[in-house]
Point group: C3
């Protein structure tokens, strides 16, 4: 598809103050450092400010503070929130340049007669849809998808190729699930008995709100008794594990490789950094930020930023500090003894 547009068309569509030739043609959205004269780039992260002056971009999207710096090198679109402008530009760009999936059910798909599939939904090759499933208007189920018994997908929801929805999983509208994700698998529940583990069948479901995104190869387990609940607008990155009966409030974002143990409750508008672990049964308030690799071992009742991460160092320094750390309690006792003697 023809991706090329003019700066004038971009500004007409997305707004902002365009300073430059409206007729300049743009054929790519790209990063500052490798941009060509037909690329539009943006500056939002101050980390990249130093790349601005030398960028060959045909146009740069900037905040008012960078107006002069941007113009010193060429055309600019000035807008209060360049990152948001960039987000909308990428959406428009993707819609213009990517082929839409063909509506209808692929000849190879196996769809149970007792499933309901909207006429304009797109069901890909080798998809399986089981009885009682409901697939809404404009839904896309990518190739190799599995939609189990009694699942429900709201209007406009998309599954990338090879997504598993185990039985009774429900997704709201406009969700996007990336390849390899597994929703509704069994939670990890076993009762100990005489040195063995007795399976607790997981009788609950996974229920997901609207506008949720779930990353590649992430897992969301069904509830044991009661459901696992993901609120509206939640964004979940790749390789994230969400245990049974977890509840996540609306618009919380969870970065990659996070593990959330069973029955944890996480508030709305939280941000959970990459590699974070959250213990089972803890409760986390709204608007909590947890920085990367922190292990949350108790509840957090108050909005704020929380951290816990062993600082890294060159190996020799680390070894010395770690050795001291192993005897930290003894060191405290020695300080106490010194204080006693001195007083």
């Amino acid at each position: 598809m023809l991706a090329s547009v003019t700066l004038g068309e971009i500004a007409a569509r997305l707004g902002g103050e365009l300073i430059g030739e409206v007729s300049t043609r743009i054929d790519a959205v790209g990063p500052l450092d490798s941009a060509t004269p037909s690329t539009i780039a943006f500056l939002a992260n101050p980390l990249y400010e130093k790349q601005l002056a030398g960028s060959h971009a045909g146009c740069v999207i900037v905040a008012p503070a960078f107006r002069d710096a941007a113009l010193a090198r060429g055309a600019a679109i000035v807008t209060p929130d360049p990152y948001l402008y960039f987000a909308r530009l990428t959406q428009w760009w993707a819609a213009r340049t990517r082929p839409a999936p063909a509506p209808g059910v692929h000849a190879s798909a196996v769809v149970d007669p007792a499933a309901r599939v909207a006429a304009d939904a797109s069901i890909g090759a080798f998809v399986v849809v089981e009885a009682g499933a409901s697939i809404g208007a404009g839904v896309v189920v990518g190739a190799h998808g599995f939609v189990g018994r009694d699942c429900s997908l709201g209007a406009g929801t998309r599954l990338a190729p090879r997504v598993t929805l185990m039985f009774e999983t429900t997704l709201g509208e406009r969700c996007f699930v990336q390849s390899g994700a597994v929703l509704g698998g069994d939670g990890f529940g076993f009762a100990p008995t005489a040195g063995r583990w007795e399976k607790i069948e997981q009788l609950g479901r996974v229920r997901i709100g609207d506008d949720v995104e779930i990353g590649a190869n992430s897992c969301i387990d069904r509830g044991a008794a009661g459901d696992t609940l993901i609120g509206d607008g939640v964004k979940i990155d790749n390789l994230v594990q969400i245990g049974h009966n977890v509840r996540i409030g609306a618009h919380t974002a969870i970065a990659g490789c996070v593990g959330i143990a069973g029955s944890a409750t996480i508030g709305a508008h939280c941000m959970i950094g990459g590699g974070v672990g959250i213990n089972g049964h803890v409760s986390i308030a709204d608007r909590v930020v947890i920085t990367g690799a922190t292990q949350v071992t108790r509840s957090i009742a108050k909005a704020g930023v929380y951290s816990g991460l062993f600082p890294f160092d060159d190996n020799a320094s680390w070894e010395k500090n770690a050795a001291t750390l192993r005897n930290l309690h003894a060191l405290r006792e020695r300080v106490r003894a010194l204080e006693k003697k001195q007083s």
Copy 2:
């Protein structure tokens, strides 16, 4: 399917002392806090004791210690181990309410003529079974499953949709493998040579005992030379990585996001918490408990509980402590100097 049963039927089937109307109808197994009069709930974790008095459950399964508290609010089943009772109730419930997979090979499946498939096994849509594979009585291979050359699945073993068994992988009886798991992929083995990596083909296999459960998107690598061995009754959660030539003893449970590096040996009846990492070549005794997020960097010769986790805090406190930690060795030297002067 009709899920409703009476309390009398439950007690007749599973035992326990029923105190209440035998004719009360129950149509759901659920948590205490959201239970309705037609729900049966249980109390095992003391964390939830405070939910007992206010629960609207039609019946609560409790230990003798909670008999009076439970009766103060309605019907109860009293049993020495409510969690185990609950486990068996969920099993019965699932068997009653979930449709059994149809026996036989789905028309779309590709089964090599040189594979052996039991007559009552269920082979789902788009499954591939390669030559030499052996699929036992009552086995279920969910849709999109891949059963490679010379794999073997013992009687009653079930694979959820989309499970990969690479060639020569063997599973015992009554195992359950969740969606997305990969068993028998190559271990990570490369010999360095002149700044490059030379592939070590992984010539061993994965061999799994009876009654093993493996979580969604978990990976168990085949051995390099010799096999990767998972003992009877082992339970493995989601997104767990088990390297080549690892050996895991019977009835050990491994929570989500654990990584076990190659050639580690783990005893029987161990419990490995979520996010734990275990170094290659270490050996861990029977009945070792490792709490969440601990990194096991050396062997553990004795049963017990082991931990190692940087405590989290609000970000400001963490930053101060982390900064001091970076110079912990120097702090010890200063204490030593003080001691010397003082003596």
Copy 3:
């Protein structure tokens, strides 16, 4: 296939000094401890030296330093680098004993007429190849593979069963991707706006060099604007997450469960241990070694070994040290006070 060979054939093929009967038949490559007289084993890791004397192996591959110890127990092949010798032996063994995938497109595969597939490529059952994809000579796409629009696979590259390549992903020659890997999924990019997250469509691609191996269920995200780049000879283990716009230099090896956040740049010939996390936007020099479970929170400008890991201990000791650690800053202040008083 007949796997049995003589020691003479091995030495003729792979070199080394064979000391023993050339006619001894070998039918397995295995570990020292469980070897039988028809097994060939090797000794490279000094950890296993103690297994040498008692090994029943028909032949042991050793370095010159172990020549006498090896001969004291039977036949040996002496070579300067036993691990490399073993690697080449496994490659030869695998080529001799494993059936090659049949060339051609399986009858069940769905290949778009606008895709280019080399005549000798092997396309497995239920594979989907979309328009514009290019599949080179000798390529193997395992069962259930998805090769999206405009993807490109260089000669000799192999995908295990069930690999997802999202649109525009390119792999060089002789790559190997294990089951469940997802390449080219969307990076995690959202612009905050009024308490919600606005999707940033990921317009870049994933571009992978030659001789790259990618482990089971690992994920490599496509770039936001600009591409995610994996250099030649890079080896990536299972369950690894690589964010958008990451760049990894040639011949770097990455162990299991690693998470690399977006826009990180990693040099060539690095070794990243299992469970490591790397922050977004950091830059890591060539030949950096990061030991397991370290969280890399800032750039590393110099080759060397880097670590950061809370040492584990029995739970009681850990609790005491962790409690002290929570007040480490206060302990430093107390030492400072003591020093002041004493001086």
